[in-house]
């Protein structure tokens, strides 16, 4: 296995790094410390630059107009794109574009025309509605939203929670129990329009992060045409499950990016700050924190790149993706915590991004499946077979 970046990868990473440091970071000086939106003119200007670089719509498959960059390189880019104040949850404020919901690439042509293509053009956006008040880590058992066939339609009743973008999206992918007797084989995936009667955004769910809140949704006799079933009826669980594994790799990359930047800040500060007549960098307590940071960062990086490499080669990567998510989210939290400690009082202020990362990276140990569930996934794979 070649652990060196190729010349092309090095060039791409350097380009993204320069873009983040020269174009994105300076804009944050005028934004609220918890902000997540650029001024529209700045956003449009940066989007134009990204398009000129050929990186727009990174995760869009080449067949749909994406830039055809392999997953390992995209993971390296994601690590760079997170290296600014808002980078953990809004890498580069979205100016690299998005691919929308990955499940839509498996949709039929009519659904692609109505949802996928407008999303790729930036005309529509969608949310992913899986988690319910009854749970999110075990969707096969936790889903209580019901879908009952009525003529050519399905009628949905139930609620979803912790849904990002539920209040701003034009449509959503929603999972509901269509056959109560069949467990994971009784779940159907639907595309619902936010304008459908019976769709309600019940509340904003405030969390540790001040922006990118979640929402709670309710479906009251929400009538969905049969043409809006994504995939086949009762086979929605596989659609949900596939997304969960794939999403863990960029999720891990974001944690690494923030950790890299926090470590860079910690080293700079340790080399500058003088206490009791000498620089912090001369103190063994500080040196060990810096070293432990580096061990955490390098471990996370290689585990995550290994997961991306297996996924890119179409090999089973569920264990690797779970390991990457687990290691990077936990290590990233430790790195930010140590870096904040090295900065002392300044680390806690909104003058620096550390306090925002400290709050936001804590969510990463729970979002996209908590650490305990990642361990459960790996244990299943390592021990063989499924167990309870």
């Amino acid at each position: 296995m070649d652990l060196e970046l190729s010349e092309e990868q090095r060039l791409i990473v350097d380009t993204v790094r320069r873009f983040v440091r020269n174009e994105v970071v300076p804009l944050e000086a005028d934004l609220d410390p918890d902000g997540s939106e650029l001024e529209p003119a700045d956003h449009d200007r940066l989007v134009a630059q990204v398009k000129e670089m050929g990186f727009y719509g990174l995760d869009i498959p080449p067949a749909y107009g994406g830039p055809d960059i392999d997953l390992v390189t995209r993971t390296l880019m994601a690590i760079e794109m997170a290296q600014h104040r808002a980078g953990l949850y809004t890498p580069c404020y979205g100016v690299f574009g998005g691919a929308g919901l990955a499940q839509l690439f498996e949709a039929n042509e009519d659904q692609k025309q109505r949802y996928l293509y407008p999303t790729l053009r930036g005309e529509k956006s969608g949310f992913f509605g899986l988690t319910e008040p009854s749970g999110g880590s075990d969707p096969a058992r936790a889903i209580q939203t019901t879908a009952v066939k009525d003529g050519d339609d399905w009628v949905l009743n139930g609620s979803k929670i912790f849904i990002s973008g539920g209040d701003t999206s034009d449509y959503g992918i929603v999972f509901a129990r269509s056959d109560a007797s069949q467990g994971r084989n009784g779940i159907t995936c639907f595309i619902i329009d936010a304008g459908m009667e019976g769709f309600h955004v019940r509340r904003v769910v405030h969390t540790l992060r001040s922006t990118h809140y979640a929402t709670e949704l309710q479906f009251e006799n929400l009538r969905v045409p049969a043409g809006n079933v994504l995939g086949e009826p009762h086979k929605g669980f596989a659609i949900a499950n596939d997304r969960l594994s794939r999403q863990r790799i960029p999720y891990a990359a974001g944690c690494i990016g923030v950790a890299v930047k926090a470590q860079e800040m910690a080293i700079a500060y340790a080399n500058q700050r003088v206490t009791f007549g000498d620089k912090l960098a001369t103190r063994q307590a500080i040196q060990w924190m810096i070293v432990d940071n580096e061990i955490d960062i390098r471990t996370s990086r290689w585990v995550t790149l290994a997961a991306a490499d297996k996924a890119e080669r179409h090999q089973p990567f569920r264990t690797e993706a779970a390991m990457a998510k687990l290691v990077a989210s936990e290590a990233g939290g430790r790195v930010v915590d140590r870096s904040m400690q090295i900065h002392g009082g300044y680390g806690m202020t909104k003058d620096l991004p550390l306090e925002r990362w400290y709050r936001e990276i804590r969510i990463r140990r729970i979002g996209e499946g908590p650490s305990e569930v990642q361990r459960l996934i790996m244990a299943r794979d390592l021990l063989g077979g499924s167990f309870h």
């Binding site: 609220d32 410390p33 918890d34 902000g35 997540s36 939106e37 529209p40 539920g166 209040d167 701003t168 936010a194 309600h200 955004v201 019940r202 509340r203 904003v204 405030h206 969390t207 992060r209 001040s210 922006t211 990118h212 809140y213 929402t215 909104k350």
Partner: protein, 89 residues
């Protein structure tokens, strides 16, 4: 978080004093006072506030609730609101 209202209790503006305000809520309110003679939030007689660490999401929530209850943004927020404001209800 703060809201400004007129004598009848109608909310004219919803805002927050974020991490860049030099003197927090005081700075934010002084800016409204200075702008009032040129329009802005003229007519304000009432004021209320709450302390909230999640001021960005609470700000959006209050705007969404106002739209849900009144059908439109407060008059002072018509040209001063997040680019992508959601809906609630």
């Amino acid at each position: 978080m703060y809201q400004l209202g007129d004598a009848a209790g109608e909310v004219l503006y919803i805002g927050y004093a974020g991490g860049r305000e030099l003197f927090g809520l005081r700075s934010a309110l002084e800016r409204h006072r200075d702008l009032a003679p040129t329009g802005g939030t003229a007519g304000v007689t009432l004021f209320r506030y709450e302390v909230n660490m999640q001021y960005q999401s609470r700000y959006r929530e209050l705007l969404m609730l106002h739209v849900a209850d009144n059908g439109a943004l407060p008059v002072g927020n018509l040209n001063d609101h997040p680019a992508h404001l959601g809906r609630i209800g």
